[in-house]
Amino acid sequence: MTALLPPSPKRARLLRVLLPWLVPLLLLTLWQLLAQVGVIPTRILPAPSAILQAGITLAATGELWRHLGSSAARAGTGFLIGASLGLVFGVLNGIQPKAEVLLDSSFQMLRTIPPLAMIPLVILWFGIGEQARIFLVCVGVFFPVYLNTFHGIRGIDPGLLEMGRVYGLKRREIISHVILPGAMPSILVGIRFALGIAWILLIVGEQIAADSGIGYMALNAREFMQTDVIVLSILLYALLGKLSDSLARALEGRLLPWHPHHRRAARSSSELSPAV
């Protein structure tokens, strides 16, 4: 009978933290075993231990950090510029119907062009320097932020805007107290999308032409048949993508403390803690 009783809150929490890692761990173990026995040739997929070893070696020489740094700098710069522009135009078109009429249809047309289709043109414009990659990231990041900001603003309850007017808020105050906070959940969704896109574009950008960055590291490794380094680069991208997504989620928790969704999350985790 005791086995049927629900586990204690502490155990339930531990289980919830550990359980998601169970499947990846099993797969990793299987991979390691198959590689060691020789079922998977090292040329095709090296063992996890070999990849880890490659990572340690590269980290020790400082090469890994150099590539990681330049990739992060590109993604960061491109994201900042693109997201800022998206935010500015999203707000402008959201609150100013004249600006919307003037600009929105052009943005919608440009949006349908896949950023990767522009690579030949981008190389002609910027050569293979930093600007080319930053530009690509910028373009990719702009649209999700723009669209979500714009729709977030349009989705605000008109009753709240009217209330702002009746209660004597100035236009500037309506923007800062009503419009921006009201659109914030939607803006943050746009930012999460944009972060994902930023990494994808960067990978392609760095593999086309670069002299540093994780994409370059992978490309270079291909020349020397270093499968372990290639796989390491792929895993690094996954890690960086996950990291930026977690960052965006942390941002949501910080900027939307009022949102019932976040409050519920905070409450349920406190309910699970043994103190309650």
Partner: protein, 284 residues
Amino acid sequence: MTIPAVGCHLQTRGLSKSFGSKQVLHAINLSLEPGSFVAVVGRSGCGKSTLLRLLSGLDPASTGEVVINGQPLRGLNREARIMFQDGRLLPWKTVLENVGLGVRGNWRHHARELLQEVGLRDRADDWISQLSGGQRQRVALAKALITRPRLMLLDEPLGALDALTRIEMQQLIETLWLEQGFTAILVTHDVEEAVTLADRVLVLEEGRIAHDVLNDLKRPRRRDDPGFARLSGEILDTILQRGQGNAESPQHPQGSRTQRSAPARSGWNGFGAPAATGISTLSP
């Protein structure tokens, strides 16, 4: 003209509103005493909310004007605060911040006092989504009161609340009105609510004031009081009979103080309070 200390004097002159070809309000003439509590009742679509929006300056009149303390209203009515049916509170601000929204200077102390008055002192730092419907309307009330408005426009503020909460809120509104002395206009479809709170009940029918009823029952008013029941019944009857297209002189109980007034076509000429108490019937 003497301007009263707190409540403002409100008049409308030939106030009309059309949306496209549809005329929603027909030449409304009104004069409200400073500090009075007036209820506007009627079926949905009779134009009562439109009237309130014109009085607040949110919508411009098609013809005619609103006069506040002798001055014609241009743009937004700065004397007025509206309390909306849906509260219209900002979910991303705390209860206290909502109360103080748009107030200049140091408002926090006063906002806390008001929250205490509406019985929500210990909820000051909560989010709006943590409150019940009735509590939200209490916050909306505190928020409307913080600038000490001289005209309070209540747009079915209790329409979405359950019966018990409504009664509580009615008492709260009455208490605050007696305390602060603002002029209040309550739009409602609940006749009993109108009779509970208002000194004067206007029945709006198809954009015209069809009846103007003075209510001098003693406060606090009780629903089981015979006078209360009779007055509510009379008003309800007139609304319903009119609605059925039975416009020929509505029946009134024996002894009802009925007063005939000017024909509807020219509108009720209501500068100054009507002379008698009871229903004034506008028969065609």
